[in-house]
C-alpha cells in the first residue's frame, strides 16, 4: 500500500472486515500471546515500586518502616502478587525464546538452544542469589 494514500471522499475503500477488539479471547494461544505482551505492565510496576522504595529510603529509617507497613495494605499486596506473576511469566517466556533470538557459534559450530536457555536461567539464579545474600545476610 502506498504511503501517500491519503483519505479523500473519492478514494476507493478496501473491503476489510473489522476485527473485534477482543479477538484474543477466542483461543488459548492468542490469549497467552496477549498475556505475554501485558507482562510489560508488570515490569512498569516493578520500576514504580523500586522508585517508591528508593524514595522511602532517602526519607530515613521511619520512612522506610512506614513504606513496609504501607506495602501490607491488601490492595497493594494483591497488585504486587499479580505483577510478580507477570514478571515471572516475562522471565520464563523471555528466556525460553532466547535460543531463537541468539545464534552463538563456538569453533564454527552452533551452540545448541538448551545451552543458551540454561545459561540464561543460571544468570537468573545467580542474580537472585546475590540479591538475597546482600539483603538477607546478617552481620
Amino acid at each position: 500500500m502506498s504511503q501517500q494514500a491519503a483519505y479523500t471522499p473519492y478514494h476507493p475503500r478496501w473491503h476489510r472486515t473489522r476485527v473485534s477488539t477482543w479477538w484474543w479471547l477466542g483461543r488459548w494461544s492468542y490469549f497467552l500471546f496477549i498475556l505475554r505482551e501485558l507482562t510489560s505492565l508488570g515490569v512498569l510496576w516493578f520500576v514504580v515500586w523500586l522508585i517508591l522504595l528508593v524514595r522511602a529510603s532517602i526519607g530515613g529509617g521511619p520512612a522506610y518502616q512506614q513504606f513496609l507497613e504501607w506495602a501490607g495494605n491488601p490492595i497493594l499486596l494483591a497488585l504486587n502478587v499479580l505483577c510478580f506473576a507477570l514478571v515471572c511469566l516475562h522471565a520464563v517466556t523471555w528466556f525460553n525464546l532466547a535460543p531463537q533470538a541468539m545464534v552463538v557459534r563456538v569453533a564454527g559450530r552452533r551452540v545448541p538452544g538448551w545451552c543458551i536457555a540454561a545459561s540464561n536461567y543460571a544468570a537468573l539464579a545467580g542474580v537472585t542469589a546475590v540479591v538475597l545474600g546482600l539483603l538477607l545476610m546478617r552481620g
Binding site: 504511503q3 476485527v19 477488539t21 484474543w24 496477549i34 505482551e37 501485558l38 507482562t39 510489560s40 505492565l41 508488570g42 515490569v43 512498569l44 510496576w45 516493578f46 520500576v47 515500586w49 523500586l50 522508585i51 522504595l53 528508593v54 524514595r55 529510603s57 532517602i58 530515613g60 529509617g61 522506610y64 518502616q65 513496609l68 507497613e69 506495602a71 501490607g72 497493594l76 499486596l77 504486587n80 502478587v81 505483577c83 510478580f84 514478571v87 515471572c88 516475562h90 522471565a91 523471555w94 528466556f95 533470538a101 540464561n120 544468570a123 537468573l124 542474580v127 537472585t128 540479591v131 538475597l132 546482600l134 539483603l135 538477607l136
Partner: protein, 118 residues
C-alpha cells in the same frame, strides 16, 4: 515516516536489553519488597543494612541501569500491545510520546533519587 527509521534499531536494542534486565532482577526484588517483607515471611533488612547495599556506588549504578532499561522495555512492548490489542494506530504519536517520554522521565527521576541516597 522515513526519518523515523534510524532510531528504530536503537529502540529494539533497548527493548531487548531491558527485557534481560527485568527478567533477571524484577522477580526477586518484587517478591522481597512487595510480598515477603510486607507480610513478614522474611525479616526485612534494617535501615542501615538497606543503605549499605543501596548506597554502594555499584548498586546505585545498577539500580539506575536496570530501571532505565526496564522502562524502555515497557515503552516499546506496550506501544505494540496497544497497536495489536486495541487497534488504535491512529493515536500513534500520542502513544509514542507517552511511552518513550515516560521512560525518559522515569530514568531522570530514578537517577535523581539514587543520587540523593545518603
Amino acid at each position: 515516516m522515513e526519518n523515523r527509521r534510524p532510531i528504530e534499531p536503537l529502540l529494539w536494542l533497548l527493548f531487548s536489553a531491558g527485557g534481560v534486565m527485568s527478567a533477571l532482577f524484577a522477580p526477586v526484588l518484587l517478591f522481597l519488597f512487595g510480598i515477603a517483607f510486607p507480610l513478614r515471611w522474611l525479616a526485612p533488612p534494617d535501615y542501615d543494612r538497606l543503605l549499605l547495599v543501596f548506597g554502594h556506588p555499584l548498586a546505585r549504578l545498577a539500580i539506575v541501569v536496570v530501571c532505565s532499561l526496564s522502562l524502555f522495555h515497557w515503552a516499546h512492548r506496550f506501544r505494540y500491545t496497544l497497536y495489536d490489542g486495541l487497534q488504535i494506530k491512529h493515536l500513534n504519536e500520542a502513544i509514542n510520546s507517552v511511552c518513550y517520554g515516560g521512560a525518559v522521565v522515569g530514568t531522570i527521576a530514578m537517577a535523581y533519587l539514587v543520587w540523593r541516597i545518603p
